[in-house]
């Protein structure tokens, strides 16, 4: 089975995880038009290169991020939101 490395629980079978899809920016409800709000809800990054996704380790309910190639399925790295903020 494919192994994904959870930042908190270490390497685990991928069936212990749930994918929450590519990261989206949070639009401002006060200033976003209806059309843009619909796009935010329904449009998802479907590009074939490296995508950044939310994942959840289900038994511990731990959310983290992963960079994964959407064509080769190679996981480049997994990290926490704090790691992402600390990045230059």
């Amino acid at each position: 089975m494919k192994i994904l490395t959870c930042p908190m629980n270490g390497p685990r079978n991928i069936n212990e995880f749930q994918c929450f899809g590519p990261v989206k920016n949070d639009p401002d409800p006060a200033t976003t038009s209806d059309a843009d709000w619909a796009r935010h809800l329904f449009r998802v990054d479907n590009s074939r290169g490296v995508i950044t996704e939310w994942w959840r380790h289900v038994p511990s309910n731990y959310f983290f991020l992963a960079e994964r190639n959407a064509t080769t399925n190679e996981v480049i790295r997994t990290f926490t939101p704090q790691d992402a903020e600390a990045r230059p």
Partner: protein, 180 residues
Amino acid sequence: MKTFPLSPGGAAENVTLIDNVITLTDLTPLPRFGLKGRGSGAWLQAQGRPLPQINQIANGVLRLGSEDLVVVETADDLRAAWHAAPAPKGYTAWREETWAWMHLSGPRLNDVLAKICPVDLSPAAFKDNQIAQTRVGYLEAIIWRHTFDGREGFSVFFDIAATAFFANAVATAAREFSEG
């Protein structure tokens, strides 16, 4: 008086727990107290309960996340103190209501666990103070090394609604070792 799944009137009343090559013991009625959220760690420390590292157990405290804790010893006094305390103190995670607690022991324990749990729980790989949050018997579960009533083995927390399913999964996995 609470009704637990395996007790008379419970949802899993007629389920028998395996007791041959592996022994399942239901510890669900034992006290435990779970706290979650901001402030829970600090409050528990203030009660004289030092916090272990994440995914470790020490002095009856299981640490499941930075602010996700379960106390498995002398929980009743602690619960009363928590209810009386002012915030911030986290919030109660209702672990005594939502989780079943089973103990596994027996001569073929390692063989059965190797079939139903993907984490290597052998003594060399899994230390006494470690916790694994993983799957056991197809269920999301928390497992740690625990000697209960003089029997070396493991304790497992899982969704209380799956009590019968878990007992069945363990018995099914053990069958190949008990037959033949």
